[in-house]
Symmetry: C2
Subunit: 302 residues, 2 copies
């Protein structure tokens, strides 16, 4: 099966984990752009995606948890931007740590959540070491599929989902296809009219050329709204991460001004406690871009 | 002279520069919290201010220039929040690289700029290696004073300045006094009624306890507006930096909604070319805080 083959594909990005990728990185780039990633007791992050830069964090589970949890608000803007249907169908691609599931399952209006994660070990490690993230898997509405998200989407009937959230790694190695036109076409096909997608869309400080391409492709494919938003993640390279927020042709979606207020929380929300980071002001501010980024993104959008 | 003595005080923070501070850092904190900072050809940043974290950047002048320039928009929000006087008096404390001067001198309504930098070498190095920053010193309205900003302020007649911009390093070592109550009292005394101050105010991800103290002190001293804003700086620890924006009793200052639009640029602005980062949306978004920070800052502000 294609999905299984993809799931067994070795990780090639070399971007995460102590000592996992130094030799391949040196082959890819200039040797002088990298330093040793193997320091016992420290987690290192370096990659051909950000040559000449290295970030070290001391520690084990706490460090990783801090790294992961902060980025998990990316499911939330999507939910708040949609009208309140009574029975949302949501698909998460990637997100095997469970954090996006935890956030999506705050809302009683979500009836069904599919998640397609390529690497079962991510799920297992999260359940073992990060129970506060993996709690997302305990929700009875969640259906876990282990396999390649690209293949999964191809088999989805047209117009199945109200929202698709792509919680992927960077566009080298296994996640590369998740940044390409055929994938976005599959996403658009799998969404209902006026359905929304949120995809991980890199850093404006490091990867404007990648962002420019993503925006261009999304503009061709998504005939509703096409927006770029960003937020800070202190443990990510350059300290920020961006999202593409797009909708298919149909009921208009104004991503910057949510229709569902976070303070109108339902019972699912109360059980999980208040959000620490996200609020309505932070939501709208995420769409305010620096001039250099705005200029490029607007030129692709219009 | 007090100012000269302070200027000759050795740097104790250990926060910047290859190999400058590792042994002292190990004495201050737990040895395991630090790794070697000496890697030839790489700039390292680690400090007791952010134990268990290390950031490396490859290279020389370009790297440093990138690090410095991005943070230089912090002078701009102050100028745009004030009514357009015909003859502003501005004081910059720190900022020896010239970047804040460059931004402040965009405005023809600024008549006089004093800058008090404790370390003459910062000025010399900037002039030699970062001419695009140091260009700020070329403006005829700029008066450079080498000395301790704390001492300088004590000798300033009451109500001298319309705006004071504090472009300091972190509150360990030489910059420590710039975060303490007596300093803020001197700032308030040196400002005219309704005058404004912008000070470097750390990272909400790393230093909420320091920010809480700063906000508390500012609320006691500045009887006009007291606001916290933040922005992203990819090369800073945690990727963000904050500012306190306060005004003295007098004409009300609404920092979040500037009265001077950046697009109404004057001849000074045109000569220097358009800003790459700052725009009116970015200005207002800087005041939108995550819930955890908002809760603490609002409790100190009210």
């Amino acid at each position: 099966m294609e999905a299984e083959a993809a799931a067994k594909r070795p990780r090639e990005d070399g971007a995460e984990g102590n000592g996992g990728g130094v030799s391949s990185m040196v082959e890819d780039g200039k040797a002088g752009d990298y330093i040793s990633s193997v320091i016992p007791g420290w987690f290192s992050e370096m990659s051909p995606m950000w040559p000449g830069e290295a970030h070290y964090l001391k520690g084990g589970a706490d460090t990783f948890s801090r790294k992961i949890t902060i980025s998990k608000c990316n499911g939330v803007p999507v939910i708040h931007s949609m009208e309140r249907f009574l029975s949302w169908m949501v698909l998460v691609i990637g997100g095997g740590d469970g954090g996006v599931l935890r956030e999506v399952s705050r809302y009683s209006s979500v009836e069904h959540i599919d998640i397609c994660e390529i690497d079962e070990m991510v799920v297992d490690v999260s359940k073992q070491f990060f129970p506060k993230l993996a709690v997302g898997f305990e929700d009875p509405r969640v259906n876990l599929h282990i396999g390649d998200g690209v293949a999964f989407l191809k088999n989805v009937p047209e117009g199945t989902y109200d929202a698709i959230i792509v919680d992927s790694s960077d566009p080298i190695g296994p996640a590369q296809e998740l940044f390409e036109k055929p994938f976005f076409e599959s996403v658009a096909r799998a969404l209902r009219p006026g359905g929304v997608v949120c995809t991980q869309a890199e850093s404006i400080w490091l990867h404007m050329h990648i962002i420019e391409d993503i925006v261009s492709v999304c503009r061709q494919i998504f005939k509703g709204s096409v927006n770029y938003a960003w937020t800070t993640v202190p443990t990510y390279p350059s300290g920020v991460i961006g999202f593409m927020l797009c909708s298919t042709e149909g009921p208009v979606v104004d991503f910057q001004h949510p229709v569902n207020k976070i303070d109108e929380c339902d019972s699912f929300n109360k059980e999980k406690g208040p959000l620490k980071f996200y609020n309505p002001e932070i939501h709208s501010a995420a769409f305010c871009l620096p001039s250099f980024a705005k200029k490029i993104i607007d030129s692709e959008t219009r």
